[in-house]
């Protein structure tokens, strides 16, 4: 019974964190892009005419959702009603459940109970995440089909083709990481990055697999269909590609899916390449500085530090993806497919071979 309650609380925490972060990222995108482009951004909705100082929070987080959820909810003429309503839901469900396999801390010791700070400790954790990411294709395909609009259908088919093309380099770079760390469970991978090389440098995954990091980052951004890979939803060309015919709450759902996918990519990159929740030199009972001094801390403080470090790293990678979005121009569709099939797949296969050779020889 207590186990069930603990798992329930952990899952609820993860779900709420992800949904909240999705909303925050929407604001970061709006205001961050404004700052990057040397403009002010949305600032018309304010309290008492001035607060909160042109930050645009009320506009994005209060006015926009109210507007989106009170818009008329229509189904285009001739479109399949059931599929049109179902497509955003099918897009949303897999990305929400992906985060349960990502660890956000080491252990929390309460009394005599040691709680693993990971909502579900799966033996096949990474494969589960790949499975849920590959289910995201259905939202795109059904969204395009259910709109009774041939441009939306084209956008949907292109988007689905792009997503399945970039799943392959994503999976192959994960193979190299799994070979290095010897486990599919993300908590084991995060824990294995805790020891120090030469007594000073924390053994984070990026030192072992730099090429896999780059390939995974590119493939992850392409998988979540963000710029520079956002031809399926090209905002300046196809209006919105596969979700042209959606308005109101359904469009809000598709946009939320976009942000949650980028949170997933950020979470995976942190867990596999940047130590997850690891703080350098911090072990379960305190700081073990390499020059010998030990600062011991209670386990709750250690857990808080680790969760804080994880959150900071995930926020950094989400911010990085938003900055990339507003800096780079868009790929053409054939350039996109060429990059995946002729560039990333041979690179990631070569990476796997080199990793295998190095593991065999060392």
């Amino acid at each position: 019974m207590a186990d069930f309650a603990i798992t329930f609380v952990l899952t609820l925490m993860v779900l709420l964190m992800v949904l909240n972060l999705g909303g925050v990222l929407l604001w970061v995108e709006r205001k961050g892009s404004a700052v990057l482009q040397d403009r002010i951004g949305a600032n018309r909705a304010a309290i008492f005419g001035k607060l909160p100082f042109n930050l645009g929070i009320i506009n994005t987080l209060v006015a926009d959702p109210i507007k989106l959820f009170t818009k008329e909810n229509f189904v285009p003429q001739g479109a399949d009603k059931l599929l049109h309503t179902l497509a955003p839901i099918i897009a949303l469900l897999p990305v929400l459940v992906t985060f349960i396999a990502i660890p956000f801390g080491d252990v929390l010791v309460i009394g005599d109970r040691v709680i693993n700070l990971q909502a579900a400790s799966l033996n096949v954790g990474l494969l589960y995440i790949v499975a849920m990411v590959s289910l995201g294709v259905y939202g795109v395909v059904l969204g395009g089909w259910a709109s009774n609009n041939r441009w939306a259908l084209l956008g949907g088919i292109r988007g689905a083709a792009q997503m399945i093309s970039y799943e392959i380099p994503m999976g192959l770079s994960l193979v190299a990481v799994v070979m290095t760390f010897g486990s599919l469970d993300l908590q084991d991978i995060a824990r294995a990055q805790g020891h120090l090389i030469g007594g000073w440098i924390p053994a984070w995954g990026i030192l072992y697999q730099p090429l896999a990091f780059l390939i995974f980052m590119v493939a992850g951004i392409a998988e979540s269909k963000r710029v520079p890979f956002d031809l399926p939803e090209a905002e300046s060309e196809l209006i919105s590609g596969y979700f042209t015919e959606y308005s109101g709450a359904k469009q809000a759902t598709f946009m939320l899916v976009d942000f949650i996918e980028s949170i997933i990519v950020a979470g995976l990159v942190t867990a596999m390449f940047f130590g997850g929740w690891q703080v350098p030199f911090l072990l379960r009972d305190g700081f073990h500085c390499p020059w010998g001094s030990v600062i011991s801390l209670p386990s709750v403080v250690v857990a808080l530090l680790q969760v804080g470090s994880f959150t900071l790293k995930v926020l950094f990678f989400c911010w990085l993806q938003i900055m990339i979005r507003w800096t780079l121009p868009r790929f053409r569709y054939d350039q996109l497919m060429n990059l995946s099939w002729k560039g990333l797949i041979p690179l990631s296969l070569g990476n796997v071979v080199i990793t295998a050779l190095l593991i065999f020889l060392l």
Partner: protein, 165 residues
């Protein structure tokens, strides 16, 4: 797996599988088949086959069915009215299916393993480690042949679907 779980999974499975072959629209048939594959993956989880369940979702529900949906949408297949069959085909199919069902039922109840209790599962049953140990030692030749088979299928599919000239 206890009886409640079994019937909670088996009855929706049979219903959804029937809808696959009965529904007039191909897109809905494909979606019902995806639901069947999902229910089967959950079923595999209850039978302690973790890796197989996740692979079922990645390979079947995530790749093969997407391929089916692609083809249906490229050919723009709409829901068709009641198919016109030659006389008696419906009856013949159902009678043939019924005979097959009765045969399988009788056979499967009489298997030699039918009454023995389940053997105790070794620890780590169905995990990645257990399967990979067997896969790369005793099943290495089928593994390599499967990879060649997939290569042949890829080349064949690309050659077939290319537009001439």
């Amino acid at each position: 797996m206890d009886y409640v779980t079994f019937f909670a999974l088996a009855l929706p499975l049979i219903f959804v599988a029937t809808m696959v072959i009965v529904h007039p629209s191909p897109v809905y048939s494909a979606l019902f088949l995806v639901m069947t594959l999902f229910l089967l993956a959950v079923y595999f989880l209850f039978l302690e086959a973790h890796l197989v369940a996740v692979l079922q979702i990645i390979v079947y529900a995530g790749a093969i069915m997407v391929l089916f949906l692609f083809v249906i949408m490229l050919l723009n297949l709409q829901a068709e009215p009641r198919e016109q069959q030659r006389r008696g085909v419906h009856r013949a199919a159902l009678i043939g299916g019924g005979v097959l069902a009765i045969e399988l039922f009788v056979l499967l109840r009489r298997l030699p393993t039918g009454d023995t209790p389940d053997r105790a599962l070794p620890p780590g049953f169905g995990t990645v480690q257990a399967l990979s140990e067997r896969l790369f030692t005793d099943f290495l030749l089928p593994f390599e042949i499967t990879s060649i088979l997939l290569l042949v299928a890829m080349v064949g599919a690309v050659v077939l679907a290319k537009r001439q000239g």
